[in-house]
Amino acid sequence: MLAQAEDSWIDFNVGLFLDQFWSNTVDGLAYGSIYALIALGYTLVYGVLRLINFAHSEIFITGAFGAYFAMEALGLKPGPTARLGILEIIGFLLLMMAVAMIISGVSAVVLERVAYRPLRKRNAPTLVFLITAVGASFVIQQLFFVSRGANPEPALRLIRPTEVFTVFGARVTNIQLLVFVAALLLLVVADQFINRSRLGRGVRAVAQDPVTATLMGVNRERVIMLTFLIGGVLAGAAAVFYLLQIPQGVVYNGGFLLGIKAFTAAVLGGIGNLRGALLGGLLLGVVENYGQSLLGGEWRDIVAFVLLIVILMFRPTGILGESLGKARV
């Protein structure tokens, strides 16, 4: 009796964990790169404004809806994977990316204009920004609920997952490879932009010392807009990668848990640190998969957040620590 009760709530399945280790790693990296892309938006805005933009998860889901409707409008039907030539697939994919990135980028900038800038003009205290962020998140989410209902949209399948190669026996699909490589590429571009370009230098200056940045002729408002734009555009890309990987279609609250995970990833890597967002995202994606196979599916989120708490206990500033404010990379 006792043993059974114990058995029923926690059970270490070491055999399964070892069996699935490499496939969990592959899946985790592919899914974690989505976390990383979203995490960058949290981290950039935090670096510049010291604000956790909780509505970022809804910027992400807005892009996902945008890409979804664009595909539908172009004649992609729900159901089995569409029979398309490789060029058509690439075309659809690029178009989806463009639409999602533009929609997410623009909505991030609009959100900043409508919700945060007026508060900044009035020197509102930090708490007010935080509540506004949470409020904006719910408003956008519920707008999708009201207009699209509680059920997920039917899934549009653009690419049939096929094995490209195997790593230690774990299969890597074309979708996973595409998502991982494309996400990494986007993150490298963003990182180079922030660290090498003139505008990127302006962003870092505002993050490190906003008053002195102004004395150098940096327009802080423009920098803020730019960081929301970059964060939004990357969230839009993440939205497309998300649509490619999930079995069902987009749903109104699909951004919520993903957003919290991405935020967790940002904190895990060191909030305000671009490379920390990447590391945190990949790590979180992989570890929650390990937890899932070791303990069971319902443990996935528990493992993710316990990981966060444990790491923060030992490294309160996250793994890579330094913020955009100080980071020199």
């Binding site: 870092r204 002195t212 004395l215 150098m216 330094e322």
Partner: protein
């Protein structure tokens, strides 16, 4: 016509009046020093001229134009640059990147290259440490970065807020010598200092601030010779 004119400039922090009717002017080619005790309003004056502190009265006129309402970042384009109190070196940027921030608003590549040479000429130490990160430098070196960075804007008016603060005596001498040199190369300087001796002896003219007001003005030599100033600011009874 003066390069910079402050006309009855007032600044409030909330309800507290920090500056009352500050009237002063800086002619093209001058070094003008503002001296005064802590809290006299020297730094607030600099912030108001740069536009990061709004006026509650009066006006700031630069090169004949009222810039009282002009955004701070656009004042840099007009030709006002500042080395702020506490230096404001970007801690996560290298010396080179800090200097590049100084010419953030400029696009004239050839002239920028000249200005890099000029700054490295004035501060050879910075040339040696181009890739050192700002946050790891000594106070004196950070001061060089801050002044060099302000020069990279190729300003018509250079605002220096407490360049000697926290520096070892040999550094103080060196910094003031360089300020003189910068001025002789044609840049107008408005200098804020607690080190009144140095500031006044290098300046063409000076103003004395007390609790947000101008209480005395004159040439550097006149102010240095003034008995009340000697007593209050120069530590001579």
């Amino acid at each position: 016509m003066a390069l910079l004119e402050l006309n009855k400039m007032c600044v409030h922090y909330g309800r507290i009046q920090a500056l009352s009717d500050i009237t002063l002017h800086v002619e093209e080619g001058e070094i003008v020093s503002l001296i005064g005790a802590n809290g006299a309003g020297k730094t607030t004056t600099m912030r108001a001229v740069s536009g990061i502190r709004p006026l509650s009265g009066g006006s700031v006129v630069f090169d004949g134009q009222d810039i009282s309402k002009l955004r701070a970042d656009l004042r840099v384009v007009r030709g006002i640059s500042q080395s702020p109190e506490g230096r404001g070196v970007f801690p996560g940027m290298t010396v080179l990147e800090n200097l590049e921030m100084g010419c953030y608003t400029r696009k004239d590549r050839a002239a920028i290259a000249e200005d890099f040479e000029r700054v490295f000429d004035l501060f050879p130490r910075l040339a040696e440490r181009k890739s050192q990160v700002g946050g790891t430098m000594s106070g004196g070196e950070q001061q060089m970065v801050a002044i060099g960075r302000a020069l990279m804007a190729r300003p018509r008016l250079l605002l220096l807020d407490e360049p000697s603060m926290g520096l070892a005596p040999q550094f103080i001498q060196q910094i003031f010598r360089i300020v003189k040199e910068i001025n002789e190369q044609g840049t107008t300087v408005l200098l804020v200092e607690q080190n009144a001796q140095q500031a006044l002896s290098r300046a063409h003219r000076g103003y004395v601030l007390e609790t947000g007001r101008v209480v005395k003005t004159g040439t550097g030599a006149e102010l240095l010779a003034d008995p009340s100033i000697k007593e209050a600011y120069l530590g001579v009874a």
